[in-house]
Amino acid sequence: MALRIVIDVLIAIGAIFALAGTIGLLKMPDTFSRMQASTCISTMGVIGVALGALLYAIFIMNSASTAIKIAVIALLIITVNPIGAHTIAKGAYRAGIRPEKRMETDDYGRDLEDE
């Protein structure tokens, strides 16, 4: 019983962070800030849900293979995600996408102009 509560709380934490990320994704003003908000989904959202599912697979389903697959899925999402995020952000900047509001500082744009 206590275990079920722990599992539910972990999955709820993951869902809350995914909700936060989604709200940010819809309401942030420019491309880069939207990407920042979406990172919430792929880190805490995935970790919370995967931990809950991992406990469920180990203690309730009693299935080692399911547990290992869940762990591998979480590990893969977490290791591969930043590469995509970095490439999309860099590509967007190089393709000329700029925030509407002026940025606080923009060292990258300044150095690109120097080249």
Binding site: I16, F17, A20, G21, I23, G24, K27, M28, P29, D30, F32, S33, M35, Q36, A37, T39, C40, T43, M44, I47, A64, S65, I68, K69, V72, I78, T79, N81, P82, I83, A85, H86, A89, K90, Y93, P99, M103, E104, T105, D106, D107, Y108, G109, D111
Partner: protein, 172 residues
């Protein structure tokens, strides 16, 4: 292009085979043999893209335990940054002050720099855009959702936190 070296092939093979076992999770001799053949083929093809330097650098107690400790250091930073980001999102996304800062990195090794860049990108609120080298020093360009420091050193301390020190320990 780099030549295929035996230690690189061996370590790639071990990684592929471990993944095969984790994904299939059956220990019949047929499955293991098929996995070994596929892993060897994949390792022969991919080793030269995958590993460029010492192949078994992490097989070393101090480095390995630093890596384990780093997982927890990183989780701590991750939770802090996630709470901050969730607060901003639920607060209507108006409390932001984005900008791109240039931050110095003190890690000499390419793997370590890539690891720190990915860790920074995974932390909500910061995305690494690019790495540049100037006068022998490396710099990251980081998009930061809340630019509270424009000074490079201080911004670097605020963004990298304890992560840089621990990654330095892993790859020393």
């Amino acid at each position: 292009m780099q030549k295929t070296r035996f230690p690189a092939v061996l370590s790639t093979f071990v990684l592929c085979f471990a993944f095969w076992i984790l994904l299939t999770w059956s220990f019949e001799i047929q499955e293991l043999a098929a996995g070994a053949v596929v892993s060897l083929a994949a390792a022969l093809f991919a080793a030269r893209f995958f590993i460029h330097e010492k192949s078994f650098r992490l097989v070393h107690p101090r480095r390995f335990f630093s890596l384990l400790a780093y997982v927890f250091v990183f989780l701590g930073e991750l939770i802090k940054a996630n709470l901050d980001m969730a607060r901003r999102c639920f607060g209507g996304c108006r409390d932001i002050n984005p900008g791109i800062v240039k931050v110095p990195v003190d890690l000499p090794d390419g793997y370590a720099q890539a690891m720190l860049a990915n860790s920074i990108t995974l932390t909500p609120g910061t995305i690494t855009l690019d790495i540049a080298e100037e006068d022998g020093k490396s710099y990251y360009y980081i998009h930061w959702i809340d630019v509270s420091e424009t000074d490079r050193e201080k911004a670097g301390d605020a963004i990298k936190g304890r992560m840089e020190k621990w990654i330095g320990r892993i790859w020393k």
